[in-house]
């Protein structure tokens, strides 16, 4: 990409000028899927609406549909109207729609890929996309090998001259260490590592990026960000929905692989890592890798992990079925829909501070947060009756919804007696602020087009997280069925027992 110092109209001090991607286009495989319609297409439109896509930007869809370009444009139009974040503007739409192309075909169809190649050449010529293409594989991983093989065979993966070709993949990045390695082999056979962009949409969220700002832009929090003051950390990602229509994907994968391996371990790394020397991709990766390689599993996995499967129950006033009642789920499925585990980090900063990670479906409410819980004050110069209502101080980063930071500390209850109780101090990003802040996918797609990789996990991190998780999943596979928990509650009893063993309790988020 040309982002040269020689462009006389650019000045590093000119921070009004947005980063606009250079000439390029995006090719989406599996363009008829849910993700593509609900997230990718609207994100592309929102980027165009914010003026961040280059003139001539083109979007190519590839799928098994008997469509022409206009049919495709209609699908994108409907998806954008329904899901885009920014208002629909006809002139933006017209500008964008001129660059839509559709290539029908199967993933093993040579003629279709030949057509794709022609389409790409035509776009280069007609719209000046400069030979720069990002291939977004929004398809099940079992098709990756086919598509990548075709891209290679039809010389679509190799850039010529100064142009670039990139590939974007979504989680899951394998289902254990060996499949992750296999996937990486398939990718690296066709694309060099710097051209592979793994999307973990959590890392594109403003609030996740704010963890870095919070920790490294402030002087105030660093002194107590260590084992001297922190008692333990709880990282929670709870969903109130069930698996919906994702049975085919979810069954056999389960909560740990679906969420802990990527989102929660990444969150944990951002919370616990040392300060990177800079915010470029390499420095960030070094710190994240360091922390992931220092993670220790508990010796007794039976005592310090928990899993569950939701049973029928009442969820927020609605009667819902259990996991085994969902469509296409075998009645003897042992897939967990709730997973919790304790991890320790063996380094100077965190020795002796357990990190508790939990995630689940059909829990009390939808919430993602990181709670850093502090040790009690060494001495309380109050009578015992005065401090009965006093708990541990906590700092909570609310990732979603209601993004913000909560500080929990003790205060005096107004009155003549000295009585102390916990209060919350809230910082909210502001109800409406969130609405106008970009969607994670907007940021990530733009970063792919700009070739800016800091927010994308690298293969080494993926491997490191599977190394942490594999023994847990193997242990579970050997130990019978997950424990049932009623839908709409905060998980199975074994999860509470797991914390009780350490003398702690889960926060109710």
């Amino acid at each position: 990409m040309i982002r040269n110092a020689e462009n006389p109209l650019r000045d590093p001090r000119d921070r009004r000028l947005p980063r606009i991607a250079g000439p390029c286009s995006l090719v989406i495989f599996g363009v008829t899927g849910d993700l593509s319609r609900k997230k990718l297409m609207p994100a592309v439109y929102d980027l165009a609406n914010r003026g961040l896509l280059p003139p001539g930007f083109s979007l190519v869809g590839f799928a098994r549909r008997d469509w022409v370009d206009e049919d495709f444009a209609q699908i994108v139009h409907d998806a954008v109207k329904e899901h885009a974040r920014t208002p629909f503007r006809e002139e933006v739409w017209r500008q964008l729609a001129e660059g839509f192309r559709f290539v029908p075909g199967e993933f093993d169809d040579d003629r279709a890929f030949e057509k794709l190649r022609e389409t790409i050449d035509e776009l280069d010529e007609m719209r000046g996309t400069g030979g720069n293409f990002a291939f977004y594989l929004s398809i099940p991983p079992r098709f990756f090998a086919d598509v990548l093989g075709q891209l290679k065979e039809h010389e679509l993966a190799t850039p010529s001259g100064a142009s670039w070709r990139r590939v974007v993949v979504e989680k899951p990045f394998g289902s254990n260490l060996s499949t992750a390695r296999h996937l990486n082999d398939v990718l690296s056979e066709v694309f060099p590592p710097e051209a592979v962009f793994r999307i973990d949409h959590y890392l594109g969220k403003e609030t996740v990026q704010n963890i870095l700002a919070f920790r490294f832009a402030n002087a105030m929090f660093e002194p107590f960000w260590n084992a001297h003051y922190v008692d333990h950390v709880q990282i929670t990602m709870a969903e109130d929905i069930g698996i919906g229509g994702r049975a085919g994907y979810y069954d056999g994968i389960g909560a740990a692989r679906d969420v802990i391996q990527n989102h929660l371990l990444q969150l944990m790394a951002l919370i616990s890592m040392e300060e990177p020397v800079s915010f470029d991709a390499r420095s960030l990766r070094i710190e994240k890798q360091k922390i992931l390689s220092a993670v220790q599993l508990p010796e007794r996995l039976d005592l310090h992990t928990a899993r569950g499967q939701y049973a029928a129950g009442w969820q927020g006033g609605v009667k819902v079925g259990g996991y085994l009642d969902e469509n296409d789920i075998p009645s003897d499925s042992r897939t967990e829909t709730y997973a919790a585990l304790r991890l320790d980090i063996d380094n100077r900063r965190w020795a002796g501070v357990p990190f508790y990670l939990r995630t689940g479906k059909r829990l009390g409410r939808r919430v993602t947060e990181v709670a850093v819980v502090f040790k009690p004050a060494p001495h309380l110069p109050f009578s015992e009756t005065a401090t009965e209502g006093l708990g541990q101080n906590a700092m909570v980063m609310r990732i979603q919804p209601d993004e913000g930071v909560t500080l929990r500390f003790g205060a005096k209850v107004p009155g003549t007696a000295m009585e102390l109780r916990d209060v919350n101090m809230d910082f909210a990003y502001g109800g409406a602020f969130v609405e106008s802040s970009p969607e994670a996918y907007e940021r990530l797609i733009l970063d792919v087009l700009l070739g800016d990789p800091p927010l994308f996990p690298q293969h080494e991190e993926v491997e490191a997280s599977w190394r942490i998780l594999d023994p847990v999943i193997e242990h579970w596979a050997k130990s019978g069925r997950p424990e049932a928990y009623p839908a709409g509650t905060w998980g199975p009893a074994s999860a509470d027992e797991m914390l009780a063993r350490d003398g702690r309790v889960w926060r109710r988020p």
Partner: protein
């Protein structure tokens, strides 16, 4: 909720704000800055609406300063608004009598503690905004040369003459999408620009600033031509390989021309005031590029004058 206070003072307004926040159930403040809007009867509603829209991106305390008749005894009425779909709070301060010459005495106690202050004149602004008692309270002062009762040219010249760090003008903000496109064009085609042409509505301060910016960045001759508008209508960079041009005769959709390629439509809508203010509030330190552009503008004005008097 809305609270009307008549014949009041700053400390009563401050406690009304606290009471209203408590009543809304959320005594914590997430506001990041104070925005002072200096306006008049005619433009007050529109300006306050735009300011409220901005709070969705920048939760702020908005203080509208509305100076009414200088006659009669000093009097201050206030309208306090909290909630109502805005992420902040707004107070409209109606002043009359001798008080209108001491508006800063009302505003000063109402500034949010220890956070940035921005002063915005949606229409007419004082000549030297930085030494104006209200402007002096802010680290950022926003004027709008295109929306004053005097001629836009005079307004921009006056602002340029008194420019100090922290001043900014919406005529400059309006250029951002144009500048972004032009920079992107040169990213794509790193060619040497030999000269440039800027066309805009007669007296459009944005066209003047665009010409000054191009001149200061590219160090080339920039011609200006008047059209019937609206606003800026065309920027053309002349190169040996042909012209790079963005032309927007309609105010909505523009045509982007690059040598050797077919013309392309690009969306380049004229933006609402609220969007412009939101852009301004994203950076609160000095805009160095604007400073250089203003300098180049002053030089252009001087050269044009000499050329004219030379002709005579």
């Amino acid at each position: 909720m809305n609270v009307d206070l008549t014949d009041t003072n700053a400390s009563k307004i401050a406690s009304a704000l606290v009471r209203a926040r408590r009543a809304a159930g959320s005594p914590a403040m997430g506001m990041v800055l104070t925005l002072i809007v200096v306006t008049d009867d005619e433009n007050c509603d529109e300006a306050m609406r735009a300011a409220a829209a901005v709070t969705t991106e920048h939760p702020a305390r908005i203080l509208g300063v509305l100076r009414q008749s200088a006659r009669g005894r000093s009097r201050l009425d206030a309208e306090v608004k909290i909630g109502n779909n805005t992420a902040g709070e707004a107070v409209l301060l109606r002043m009359s009598g001798e008080l209108i010459r001491h508006a800063e005495s009302v505003v000063l106690p109402l500034l949010l503690p220890d956070s940035p202050v921005v002063v915005w004149w949606p229409n007419d602004a004082p000549d030297d905004v930085a030494s104006d008692p209200l402007g002096n309270l802010g680290q950022r002062r926003i004027t709008d040369s295109a929306n004053t009762t005097r001629s836009a040219k005079t307004a921009l010249r006056t602002q340029a003459k008194h420019y100090v760090a922290g001043n900014t003008d919406l005529a400059w903000t309006r250029l951002t999408p144009w500048r972004a496109l032009l920079a992107a064009a040169l990213d794509q085609h790193p060619v040497t620009v030999t000269s440039a042409e800027v066309e805009g509505e007669r007296g459009s301060p944005s066209a003047d600033l665009m010409a000054a910016w191009l001149q200061s960045r590219l160090r080339i001759r920039v011609m200006q031509r008047s059209t019937s508008g609206p606003g800026l209508t065309c920027v053309r960079l002349l190169t040996r390989h042909g012209d790079i041009a963005i032309s927007r005769p309609s105010g909505h959709i523009a045509t982007f021309t690059i040598p050797g390629e077919a013309d392309r439509p690009v969306a380049l809508k004229r933006r609402e005031i609220a969007e412009l203010i939101a852009e301004e509030l994203r950076r609160l330190d000095e805009d160095e590029v604007f400073a250089r552009t203003i300098k180049a503008y002053v030089k252009r004005v001087a050269t044009a004058k000499t050329a004219k008097s030379g002709k005579r």
